[in-house]
Symmetry: C2
Subunit: 424 residues, 2 copies
Amino acid sequence: MRPLLLVVFTISILSLTPIPFLPPPTTSLIYNIFILYISPTLAYLIATLGIDGMREKLVGRGLYGMDIGKRGTEREKVKVPEALGVVTGISHVVVLSLTTYLCRTSTPPTLPILLSSLTSILFMLFLGFTDDVLEWGWTAKLVLPTVSSIPLVAVYDGSTSIVAPRFLHPLFWSSPNQVLTPLSEALSSLGMTVYPGSRIGLIDVGWVYGVYMSLLSIFTSNCINIYAGINGLEVGQSVVISCCILLHNAHEIAAGVESAAQHWFSAMVLLPFLTSSLALLKRNWYPAECFVGDTYCYSAGVVFAVVGIHGHFSKTLLLFFIPQIMNFLLSLPQLLKVVPCPRHRLPRYNKDTGKMEPSMYSLPNGGGGINLTLINVWLKLWGPRKEERLTLELLALQVAMSAVGMCIRYKGLGRGLIFEDEEL
Amino acid sequence: MRPLLLVVFTISILSLTPIPFLPPPTTSLIYNIFILYISPTLAYLIATLGIDGMREKLVGRGLYGMDIGKRGTEREKVKVPEALGVVTGISHVVVLSLTTYLCRTSTPPTLPILLSSLTSILFMLFLGFTDDVLEWGWTAKLVLPTVSSIPLVAVYDGSTSIVAPRFLHPLFWSSPNQVLTPLSEALSSLGMTVYPGSRIGLIDVGWVYGVYMSLLSIFTSNCINIYAGINGLEVGQSVVISCCILLHNAHEIAAGVESAAQHWFSAMVLLPFLTSSLALLKRNWYPAECFVGDTYCYSAGVVFAVVGIHGHFSKTLLLFFIPQIMNFLLSLPQLLKVVPCPRHRLPRYNKDTGKMEPSMYSLPNGGGGINLTLINVWLKLWGPRKEERLTLELLALQVAMSAVGMCIRYKGLGRGLIFEDEEL
């Protein structure tokens, strides 16, 4: 059923279609042509050639794995090359490096922003690949992404104000004149500013916003890595998220928002990422001819953090991560070791039925339960199914949840609660 | 004779001593304290802890080598962890990432320059580590460093003019009135500017300067990698070069040159690099308890290219690379396969004498000769010697050649030939 992959491809290409019809980001023709056409094409070509060229080399150097989801079939013993994310990563950073040269005279200046993005992406690529080879401990997995987000925070030039949710307003402003409360006075001594008389509930959180950006970057890097384990899911979800962000960018640019330049920046970083991911998806789709590795998961996560932060739409970004957030919350008891956490939590292949079933953890007293991941819960809810169908259903869930996210963003469902204005 | 290592340490520390007495780079006290004291200390501590923590992990993951220079001794079978440059690299980029945050408001703005440097260093670290694991071909080793230098070129804000050597002046200016020659007219159609009437011989080479910077970056990355193979030489030469550059920076800042800010930038990048290298040298000194890997050689090379380019002293930089240039020129026949090139060219250990001897290549007709490296030529010239003594002598050569380089730079030996003014 490999042709089903065409569905994913078609949706991706459709998400790109509005972009060429939008007002161009600058007056330089070569710059626009590069961003819209050359850079995505180049990234796709480098990734395609690189993946085919590197597969044997990776196996030869011991970077391979057996597909646990194929146990009991004749594919069980096939050495599947691992960490192919290194190739898509290289194709992405090579194209972005070329972009820096074109950006050096752009107005408004995007060069520092692009350089800080490249720094963070390269840092996470390096971290991801060393993790694939050396297997870092949890400390390194939390500390290094934090450090890698510092350059992003250092060049962040957007607002550091947030809109407090309505039900929290009484904490900061005493009605009826929106006078500051003692709590607000206390906050100001910590470097934050609660604006007196603000009707929408504006608070400049200052350095706390930097902490938030770091946390966002840690979250997006790790949440893709733990929502994984079946063929095509890691890349598939990244492709869906990229398409949603690109559609959001296209919508905002077409609507002529003030922050159009930031949305163009997001498209500039995402387009080559999307096309190189598509090249990887072709080989990672069921039955996988290669694995993507932590290299891909980490670098994909940080790409989303980068565009969310520098595109000034980090809250909207999280609306496209609903399944990842659900999976993270579900996983918390196992991540925090409240419930035993086996090394692998991916579903179990039943060779008699040819279908995937939820995998279990066992307690010392003989009890146990299903491993707490969205994949296992999905299998528990709807019954065992074949691996390819499972991937497709989870990607459909990703699309459906992103649609819900878009409704929250555009149809005013979140207005007054989270968003007054995305800029704030 | 490990105490001899103290010599190298002492010289390194001495090279740092003038720096704290120089005029501070900006008015922010915390920034100065961070650059001069905290950042080098932090890099040293992270590297020291990291090296000891990672050694077993690297061996466990198959990243180790046997020391070819110990064949026939009881050390022959010891698994020496490889690619420890990954640890010094991480300590360096972590410290530089922290520095980006302090630089975000500095005057003049150093943030874009620092970010482009971080990008290049990370790119080469990633390339180096993937090379240690995957062993790239020659194409990748030339193309990827070129790409990694693009961000450096993109933010380069210095002059792109060079001073033509005196004996070439008649090619560009016809005497006696320094009128442009037809060649100069032709160059201007290629985007270069030969200044009419220029007495010192000024030519603005424009984009060609970008090509030069890329080539410099490729050269420095690879030349350390091919001047290697005996315990402590890769890190030792990098430590000596760093010390020479720091002394040059200190001299220029103390002399109050216009480009003092650029020299401060160079010190900011080099200080943590030097201290993390010293931490590595302790373990890599004879008998080596770890190898540094291509990761270290590439990242050290690009660090020097970065400070040379952004410090605006790229020609002076090359004066500290005389042994590397000699080794490169010597190696050319073998690199270009005019003469057969075996996989390893490092000298051979003679277990009877306990000394190193030149290694040989063999021709199909039974002939042969010594492998064309500076190390082998040194052994041929002065006879076999113990590995530790060999390293110390080659490092002494590095110091002596750098002293010659400094004379060329400061005592006017190169004036009129290469330098009129370092800025040009």
